[in-house]
Symmetry: C2
Subunit: 305 residues, 2 copies
Amino acid sequence: MIRTLADIPARLIATGRRYRYAVICGSDAGTLQAALRAVSAGFAEIQFFGHTDAVAAAVAAAGPLPEGSVSLIPAADDAEAARQAVSAVSHGRADVLMKGLIGTATMLRAVLDKQEGLLPSGGTLTHQAVAEWADYGKLLLCCDVAVIPFPTPQQRRVQVALAARTCRAMGIDTPRIALIHCSETASDKFPYTTDYAAIIAEAQRGDYGPCLVDGPLDLRTAIDAEALRTKGIESPLEGRADALIFPDIEAGNVFYKAITGMMHLRNACMMAGTTHPVVLPSRGDDADTKYNSMAMAALTLNRHA
Amino acid sequence: MIRTLADIPARLIATGRRYRYAVICGSDAGTLQAALRAVSAGFAEIQFFGHTDAVAAAVAAAGPLPEGSVSLIPAADDAEAARQAVSAVSHGRADVLMKGLIGTATMLRAVLDKQEGLLPSGGTLTHQAVAEWADYGKLLLCCDVAVIPFPTPQQRRVQVALAARTCRAMGIDTPRIALIHCSETASDKFPYTTDYAAIIAEAQRGDYGPCLVDGPLDLRTAIDAEALRTKGIESPLEGRADALIFPDIEAGNVFYKAITGMMHLRNACMMAGTTHPVVLPSRGDDADTKYNSMAMAALTLNRHA
């Protein structure tokens, strides 16, 4: 099982496969460093779309790389680079899309394009972040800290289904998924909590594949077995959640920024819900985070998850 | 200025005053220990309402205490103890109300009673937690992590006004108050963020007394000067907020449980918005937290804040 972020690229390397990444405007130092490290590690082939002069210089400076592991596709501008990269993914020439030094809006316009994009009609784009918290002894998946403001019942179900898939791709046979709320009691004051029981029932009948879903749980009872005992609450998750589904983006975002900004936990992030995983790092992400995010995205291509 | 939780009782002791606490059913070990410590420290007189046999035994075991610093008022049941304690406060015989081993609902029924309670008609009851985060070098006030689900515009204004007052009571002449959101951009998708500008304008014209209010700010840009610079954002708070106003209880609660449960930050809590401060500890609070919470509540009696 994967217990640390470093286990993720290690798992990919162990497969002996090379995953194909389409990187848009990958000319910033962090993206270049992450991409070339993935190439050197042997699990990545990179197609760089746009900003090819800067990329070519960095590739040359990197020294010898595995045969055919890097290709450069020039583009007239960033929007064109994004369109070409998305097209490479949607036509099966790449497995994972990744953002470099390009505006998020410009990139998302290509990803979400109704004709040529990567989001199926009626689909839901959602963010997944996986954090490494040493005290916990395993990774913790957080959904969604960045994209969906106030999930509709349908969007929350997509979040649960995709959380279960991503956890299974990380080697957890029966992921434990917590539906977070400020207490353990469903209430009409918080309409989404009254829907949690239906989601749990759907999980029990197998709608989301093998997984255990419980909620409402507060953050403590989701991830702290002792807090669960102190409160006298029974939960099939036993205070050992693998994934947290936050009630809204405000809660998810505050959590993510507390664990990264105050606790300095390392993490990896990706967008899910698209036909292929999309790596869309934050401005502040360092090369190591980008590298782990690239690995996380490729791991979710696992078809058995 | 107060920079640590320990500074709070130290400040009270320095006043030489004895603050009068009405404690309801204070027979649990944590409440007794906190209350008797406050008495021994010299800043507290305690009136124990209900559970007087158990309290009397603990008081006897504690050894000599300052003259007249403890009194015991028996009650037929917990609800009666709560009513008597609230009455002592509302009739000026005590300054602070505190919960012991009594159901929260039973206690709140007495506090919120329209005739005899402590909440003015049309008033707003809100929760304040102050956390000690060593890396930050000062205390951080969090509003509201426990009581108001989705603050109305009016409730948010009360939160801001009371946050400013509590910070001033802690010796901060011009408290920095951050209106939290998942980004720094107000948007119609998050209707409360479009109200933030009006609150800031009200603060500038002095509606909340001396204070600096800014938002929307995300958690990072509220409390991390470097994150602010990296994002290229100007804020009068300079990444040094004294108080965080969370958009909703879900965000506040997740933050509070992350900093207490994962980071193990120490904190003190109270209820504000009532005519007198109310100490209503969580089940899991230890004696030290209860002691600091008692001190925090008395400090907010400072009339100049």
